[in-house]
Symmetry: D2
């Protein structure tokens, strides 16, 4: 029944988290499982294999790891790097080898992103010692390397550690090793990852921009110059991933459909309204006091704005989005998503309830207003580095994640137009302003991308 | 391997078309297959059964039947009622019996909806002659009966035939027979079907409003008083379902993703733009010259507005909706859906292309305008019977399907607000007006439902 | 998002257990959930519905009910009939009504099969009071009624109660009600169910053989004359279904693939070997000391032979059968299935391990041996009523479930040929005899069915 | 909607054929599609991508390629190497480049396995010219290289061409390129492929045994020493893959379930009986005149024995195996699989029909017979190279594929025991002998593997 070797990537959309099932015949291991971990059991079963080991490449800060739940479902043993923080699993160290049929998984200690980070080199004992693949966690990505900003007091040290891990341990495994990192493009763990999720150590050695340095010094300098944002939810992830206390997904109830009146009642009682529809739909009609985060932005921004101690209620376009939003949010530890508005905005409107709108403004209209010196505030919520790269003249910059605490910088007496890369982040900003009582808010659908396309006057922002 | 008897309903969303797989052990038949007919083969295979017969209860006018394609895939034989129109299959007549293991399928000629309509009574030979189920096609539905308006010159005759078919043949099969009709709630083949798709002849005899008549005369009178609309695409369905000339779905290419520039090029060359997003999203931003039909309304209204001789291009919220819209449209014979805008409105906006908006107006605001005698035209696009039931004072009525040919009744010099049951049909009207050059168009999200909920002044419409 | 009414039957193969998801729009209930209850959550989600109620028609004795687990997953409330035995859920009584949108679920107390049995009549409030469906649990089946042998001291009383429940409460609901029983053909809860799982009260009133009686007295007499077997595992089911103590399926690990040596080691340590391959495959090669039960017989016979206190190891043909056998066994409370032989018999044979064979004997050869007075023991393991109906001359009868305790009736000094309906039960008997040290055992593939087909001399058995 | 880059391997079980879907965003290509090609369309749709190109790395001889059918379903263009044989598609040549978003697919002419073989190097234009992957067709596999025995008159030339293609073109692409070959372990296109299907050029350069040569001469010598078998069906594959005349899978009917009598009738009319059950099941009971090929051996041996001009009927264990066997056989161009025996052997036996058995003999019993000089013929049907490696003393060798034409070497007057690696091929030999009228045939389950495990006396065979 059981067959050859397998190496399967399981991608978690939203977080752009990559995890892996690797094995030979009927024996398998999982690397960095996500919280909703049934997928590994099912994938292994399809192959006739049983999961024996679970590896964590490091204590993750951006999602709830599923190790404890997966261990309960399978009886597998959990291994992670050496750190006093872990209150579950076992520590593994440099040189430890795990066997899965003819596969050999050898542990390398590769600190830098975190101190206890490990990588795992995979070889096929029938074909010698050369690693055929390597799990690098958040040390080395396709086109980028891991963040080293989590220990600000030791910034230089950890950047140097990462250099040593990559250049001293990982790359020496050989150009032939297939690269298996823990994140792909779209993750909050790195800005510059390639859109391509398949690569090798050789490919990275030759083409990864961050690795094209002449010295450790140059590498460290470049890392220290990076500017990353730290969403507040990271702290909770670190705690859950240290003590292993996250509930099993099986114990969570998925959000209940709610009638308009039940929905209203919950909101009155303090529930938070999260609208994950598109910017256009949110612009067309919006329940008052909703936070709008388009579903493709949810994993990146929910952790800035959503509380862990209040009920969260969803407003969605279609029922499938309830499941998607729910899965994205529980991966971030939001176990408090209790309901959604049954039949969505249509039900709300048909009940005669009030709704707001956020008018869309074309970039060409913004340019006209600027040119004609009309009075309005153009609020650019992109990252500092994007804003420094290029922006519209006269724009004010507040990074979206920081908006709530920087409202004093947004004038209340003149119209505000929210602005970002193409309109997805700007709509979130617009809904926050509406919630905060701003009357006259518009959203620039198209934003910077449209500017580039139509040739607006562009200046370098001063963030 | 093969097991007991099975009776599976296959529902086609959109059309609310119901088809059936029935069988015993390894032998099966399909009743009224839809065009994308792989589902029957797969369902039969899961049961270890082979499809031997395909029955058409009548020549359908509202969708492309999949008999010929399914026969090619399975080798099954096609049977339908007696009519010179059919250019494929075999005629079956009153009393014919087909065997599937212990099941017996007996044909009843039940004209009325069409002349060649048949019903099929199912009995289990191990349990005597009493029918356990009956396929009634468009003769008898849950809570309604079939339309009898397709032969206006013989209106009274066909209504009488339907009475005889139902009261003389179908109901006498006995209260114990499970009802298996060809349509459920939401179909264009009947206004008043129940939201419940499971019933029996006894249940209908006792509770179906149309059957609670004292005489054939009363029944015929009621049928003659009904007012149905006939979408223009019915004619094409009749032709395809007579000559069996529809292409197999396997020969159709699903719509291609198109870049913004390819999309624009196609539109310039005459392609029709179909936007199936929600009313809120269409209101928020809309590509100029798009026809907006929310996806849940597509099967009901595409056949009024879409051409068969031009390319149709889709604008959707998410990629899944491409597949859904495509399947809905090919069931209506639209083989000309060639592409969709890749990445949707966001791509369009990011390319700096122009978009329009359709502002949403709350019902309370409409009431205010009426009360304060503001100048505007309230365009109610519901059916005549809905409009006659209740409407806002001063509204003008044009049924949505008739809007294009009745534009002379919509003033161009004052603002227009579109209005319907809850805002879904009104947005289609709004996009048609925009296409036709109306400048000032708003859509009343909530519409009549919101009026009822908040207690507007309501009058009886005079349609 | 949420739509009309739905009534979905979920069939558990093996047990032939039928459970139901019923609902309207976003509100749903489950009737008699099985232990592996994720299927209800997933089916409800596909419909955009949330499970609010769980009903148990009676305390089941033949499978582990999933109410407690399903309640944990969904937050739904559990309801069952009135009995002091239940240590979870709430009691419901005659006349209680539960609402799901327009659906009304009304409770009827229908004792007989058990004292606390309830039925649930379903009506659609938009269409009056007439029930459109009824959940009858183990009171009324398609073509049969429930067993009344569980209270031998009150046999007449309970048979009478069942008569009153069916004729006094259920049938009066009307011919039009769709029948939704808790079991279909193949269940240990009734011998004579139809192969057809769709029926109505009218259909049963007209055709169910057990209901064609002239009086309560005749009904009771017929019930008292029935002869049922009570597999020993029923006791455990009753306990688990009273105290709700069964583990959640999420807490169980599926069986591990085992190497030949690990497998042998476990057997030496006392594990029980269960071979679920076909009679032909078991006949061709069999690991010594295996109990052979073909997988389609597993639910019917596992409960006679398998222990709850030892490890159970599987031998299967293909990996899919591991999952099937595992699901069948956990539904019977066997949480002790810990492993399976990886790569099956082929691995065992390739390791040079010893195997046995059970030669197949054709019925015509049996007839020859009988005719020529050869010395052998023909062991017929069918039910007493089958045996009384017809058998081969000279056969000895022991019901398969009773074989282990009746071995003194099977001679050890002459060849034994096992015999049943077509060879499926006989192979189990053959493996038991092999385990018990019988040297010369053959299995008659074809058995009684082949006799009938080829025209053997047949006598009435004297069981 | 469309996202990043993807590279998906689609494995065809049985043939161990590997094909690929590669793309960026909404644009995709397929390399070497199999005949049942819906899988590519569905995989592409899941990614929101459209298939624009189809590449054939060479004219395949071991399966029916799906290019023409896939092109019809998608409108994609077909490309292959330059050869006058192709009657469809377009020729592509060294240096041609195809774009899919940022991906670049560059053609290399890599003759050797066939003259027109191409490889395709893939680079990511955002990351320079270095290939990140390469499709090598049948030139380079994981752990092996392509066969070069198809042109016996030019054997040395083609082996030399392959050397140049691998060492002169493919390996120079760099160690970093991920290897994407057209076959994995189990294929008839190479004996020594690794069980691991993931590798890189670097990994192969370092560890592929065939590449560890010092010179072209050494490579050519080794290739010329290889001994491959050419199943007769290869000729038909070459024809179908040249003229593109294979029917679309949509036009094929899957095998019909047949009653025992219909089955018998077909066999009488000349249909061929193919039994794909396990060796143990075939040994336990077998319909006379069946060819037994265990399903996991079907792709390797069907092409030696099955005709294209007679109906083929299946005997299977479970219904799923009908679908599996059907898919395996249509991939080999067997469009003549018309039916299967409904309910399998159990139905046959229950109908009282005659069956045969093939007794299983343990290896230890064979050794005893050899040691005690009993008279019997031990028929070893492994490959010549396996037989030369090690075998039992006194065994006669005939390769399974050659058995039918070498029956004069198998004595009819003494018992025959069939023997192979572990019993899977030997059972096919046993059924052939039974068909050919051999009376006394046994099969050695365990065979050579069991010998090794228990330590039999082993000699070098003289094939």
């Amino acid at each position: 029944m059981a067959g050859g070797m397998f190496l399967e990537k399981i991608r978690s959309e939203g977080l752009s988290h990559l995890s892996y099932l690797i094995g030979h015949g009927s024996r398998a291991a999982v690397v960095d499982p996500r919280r909703d971990c049934r997928v590994y059991v099912e994938t292994a079963h399809r192959k006739g294999a049983h999961i024996e080991y679970i590896f964590e490449t490091h204590r993750n800060e951006d999602y709830v790891i599923g190790s404890v739940a997966l261990a309960e479902m399978t009886g597998a043993k959990i291994y992670h790097g050496r750190s006093p923080d872990f209150q579950y699993g076992r520590a593994t160290k440099e040189g430890d080898v795990f066997k899965l049929g003819d596969l050999r998984l050898r542990v390398l200690e590769t600190p830098g992103h975190t101190f206890e980070s490990i990588s795992i080199a995979v070889s096929d004992s029938g074909f010698g010692e050369h690693p055929v693949a390597v799990f690098t966690g958040d040390a080395l990505f396709v086109g980028d390397v891991g963040r080293t900003d989590f220990f600000p007091d030791q910034a230089e040290e950890v950047a140097g550690l990462l250099y040593e891990s990559i250049f001293g341990k990982i790359l020496p495994l050989g150009d032939q090793a297939i690269l298996c990192p823990a994140h792909g493009a779209g993750s909050v763990c790195g800005d510059s990852m390639a859109e391509r999720e398949f690569s090798t150590l050789g490919m990275e050695r030759l083409t990864n921009p961050v690795l094209q340095v002449k010295s450790k010094k140059e590498f460290v300098k470049a890392k220290l110059a990076e500017r990353h944002y730290v969403p507040p939810y990271f702290r909770r992830m670190e705690q859950l991933n240290s003590d292993g206390s996250a509930l099993s997904v099986n114990q969570l109830h998925s959000p209940k459909p709610m009638t308009v009146s039940a929905f209203e009642k919950n909101v009155e009682d303090g529930a938070v309204l999260l609208d994950v529809r598109s910017p256009e739909a949110v612009g067309g009609a919006l329940i008052p006091r909703s936070l709008g985060i388009p579903i493709e932005m949810l994993s990146a921004f929910a952790g800035w704005f959503l509380p862990y101690d209040k009920k969260i209620l969803l407003v969605v376009q279609g029922y499938e989005d309830v499941e998607i939003a729910f899965s994205y949010l529980i991966r971030m530890g939001y176990d408090n998503v209790t309901g959604f508005l049954d039949n969505g905005l249509n039900a709300w409107e048909a009940a005669g309830k009030p709704y707001e709108t956020i008018p869309s403004v074309h970039t060409s209209e913004i340019v006209r207003r600027i040119t004609e010196n009309e009075t309005f505030f153009l609020l650019d919520v992109r990252t500092e580095s994007e804003f420094r790269g290029a922006g519209l003249p006269g724009a004010g910059h507040i990074y979206l994640g920081d908006l709530r605490k920087s409202l004093d910088r947004v004038p209340r007496d003149i119209p505000v137009v929210t602005f970002c890369g193409s309109g997805l982040r700007a709509v979130t900003a617009a809904t926050i302003l509406k919630m905060e009582g701003y009357d006259h808010v518009e959203n620039c659908l198209g934003s910077m991308a449209a500017c580039a396309a139509i040739g607006c006057p562009i200046v370098k922002g001063e963030g």
